[in-house]
């Protein structure tokens, strides 16, 4: 059953004896015992005095006082997330770290049996029983065939780094962003601010907020530090800007106690990077992420496949992966408000409404998500974009920035050994209106001039209004491996020379920074934009998805 822990720490008693808690994790919703599910939801370690690790985890929940205890089950998790517990009155215990009524599983030995009140007590091992006499089993072993995915989310990422870089910002509402909020601190969120909100509205809601443009390169360094620790924890890690998915399937013997290992990972991140991360563990990516959301910030929670149904049922539609505002509007117009409501629709109806995504929604609303965690050797897209320091209609400046962005994106593609089939350009005008268009290349390419020619054509086709531009961006997508591409017959020699030239450029830039070589139109940016060793300072974090 779902387990929620805050600020994980070791729970041995002050006298040095291991504490343990005879708690059955698998409780039916509302606290009723469901013995038939116990084998499928066996997240409970056999409780013996020797197995301190298994016990510690439960003890943490009991002692933390802020999380839901292991015995809370799914109802506890749902309540903590603001979802009413089925059948619970307003006077229910709430998510305050108190043990709930749940029957232990009979199959788990006499140590587990007992009344709810007995389970709520923290029991002590007999003196002398602390030394292990038998090899410890994995404390929480998922049922055979069940995947274990860890979702790591860095809390208020950019804002937390800014607060760390400048301690005077701690405790103050901090916003990082240009034009819109890219990230804001929890102090700012108390004023109703959230990512994506225009800065003008943010200023109105929270006039005392400190607004910073941010420093994408520093953020990337912090993220890399955290992701390196993820790779030490799991064999497969998929990273994004401020979050990562780690596939922990099959690591039960490596991490004797998974919650302990993840708790240790969180402490390591806090010590090394000074940041807090929220971790969710689930049988697939979607559930791992969703359960993590219920314990933000700096929390740790786990959910099993058997609890998914109950966990998802009462949650708002928008929390389902892939359901954005437009899809949610459509569904709400059909009087569907929760993920549970969505289950009423047959897969054919969902497909007719949302196309291929409809089939995914049909599985996801039932807790099924088969998307693998992969290292993404070939990314979906590489985007480089920035907002101008001042809205501009100067063609030289806009085209110069586009050439610079194309150079950065193509270099990233060459470093990954991939070539793009599609080039896209995105604009945002000063009045907030946007425009975007993509074009396929005749041949996949990673060469700056090829991508730039298409990007400039797209820019001319898109930039038609007599309004200054606020932001411009370029996206490369539909990648193929560079080695797997068949070259054109007649321009092979030219392509080979050009590739050698850009490889040389990349070596120079790799050693001395991207900004050391600036070509063509991008020269117009010299002196107008701030530079660092990586080139011109972009005001929007670069993304490789």
């Amino acid at each position: 059953m779902g387990t929620k822990l805050h600020s994980p720490r070791h729970g041995d008693d002050p006298h040095g004896r291991p504490t343990f808690e005879p708690v059955a994790r698998a409780a039916a919703p509302g606290g009723a015992h469901d013995a038939s599910r116990s084998s499928a939801t066996n997240h409970t370690a056999p409780v013996h005095a020797e197995q301190g690790a298994a016990v510690r985890e439960t003890g943490q929940a009991m002692e933390s006082g802020s999380g839901v205890t292991a015995g809370d089950g799914i109802a506890g998790i749902a309540e903590a997330a603001g979802v009413p517990r089925p059948g619970a009155g307003s006077g229910s215990a709430g998510a305050e770290g108190r043990s709930r009524d749940s029957e232990p599983r009979e199959s788990q030995g006499p140590a587990k049996r007992g009344s709810a009140s007995a389970r709520a007590r923290t029991m002590r091992a007999p003196s002398g029983g602390g030394a292990p006499s038998a090899p410890a089993e994995p404390a929480i072993a998922p049922p055979p065939g069940e995947r274990t995915v860890l979702h790591v989310d860095i809390d208020a990422f950019f804002a937390a780094i800014e607060q760390q870089r400048d301690p005077r910002l701690k405790g103050r509402p901090v916003i990082v962003g240009a034009g819109v909020i890219a990230s804001c601190s929890y102090e700012a969120r108390a004023f109703g601010l959230k990512a994506g909100m225009p800065l003008s509205e943010a200023r109105r809601l929270c006039p005392e907020a400190v607004i910073l443009e941010g420093h994408a390169q520093a953020y990337r360094c912090f993220a890399e530090e955290i992701f390196a620790r993820c790779r030490a924890l799991a064999p497969a890690v998929e990273t994004y800007l401020d979050e990562a998915y780690c596939d922990l399937t099959g690591t039960e013997r490596l991490h004797a106690d998974l919650l302990d290992a993840v708790g240790s990972f969180q402490r390591g991140v806090r010590e090394a990077a000074g940041l807090t991360v929220t971790c969710g563990i689930g049988p697939n990516r979607m559930l791992a992420k969703l359960i993590g959301k219920t314990v933000k910030p700096d929390g740790l929670a786990r959910i099993g496949a058997a609890e998914a149904d109950e966990f998802l049922r009462g949650r708002p539609l928008e929390q389902l992966a892939g359901v954005g505002p437009a899809h949610a509007r459509t569904l709400r117009s059909m009087n569907l408000h929760t993920i549970g409501d969505l289950r009423a629709l047959p897969v054919e109806v969902l497909e007719s409404l949302f196309g291929a995504s409809g089939r995914l929604f049909h599985g996801r609303c039932r807790g099924r998500d088969t998307a693998p965690v992969n290292e993404r050797e070939i990314p979906l897209s590489i985007s480089r974009e920035t907002s101008f320091h001042r809205d501009t209609a100067d063609r030289l400046e806009i085209e110069g920035m586009l050439e610079y962005l194309v150079g950065r994106a193509c270099r990233a593609a060459r470093e990954l050994g991939i070539r793009a089939r599609t080039v896209g350009v995105r604009l945002r005008y000063g009045d907030g209106e946007g425009a975007a268009r993509e074009r396929s290349l005749r041949m996949p390419s990673d060469a700056d001039p090829v991508a730039l020619a298409h990007a400039l054509d797209l820019l001319r086709a898109l930039f038609t209004r007599r309004v200054a531009l606020h932001r411009v961006g370029v996206t490369l997508s539909s990648f193929v491996p560079a080695a797997g591409e068949q070259g054109a017959l007649f321009d092979e020699r030219e392509a080979g020379r050009r590739a050698a030239l850009y490889r040389a450029f990349d070596r120079v830039r790799g050693a001395y920074g991207h900004g050391v070589l600036v070509s063509g139109r991008a020269l117009h940016l010299k002196g107008r934009l701030a530079e660092d060793p990586h080139g011109f300072v972009l005001r929007t974090p670069s993304l490789t998805k």
Partner: protein
């Protein structure tokens, strides 16, 4: 908050004990600035040589960012953040 880019090479007294670098003081604008606290440190591994960044609070209360270039071991004062 106002961050002023400085980007000047500076002389830094640093502690290299225990395999970690910790700036202790540096000279800027003819004055010795003592580091009261290291707020954050991060390593930029893009490029051939790593760059070690430090956010420090000096005794006057200003927050400065120092950078040690792994290529030539030259220290740079990147920026000073002033309270407005």
């Amino acid at each position: 908050m106002r961050r002023e880019a400085i980007q000047q090479a500076v002389a830094v007294r640093a502690d290299f004990q225990g395999g970690a670098v910790t700036p202790v003081s540096f000279r800027h604008a003819g004055r010795e600035q003592r580091v009261a606290r290291v707020n954050a440190r991060w390593v930029d591994r893009a490029g051939r040589h790593p760059r070690f960044h430090f956010s420090v609070t000096v005794e006057s209360g200003d927050v400065c960012e120092l950078q040690l270039s792994g290529a030539d071991l030259v220290w740079w004062l990147d920026s000073v953040t002033l309270e407005e």
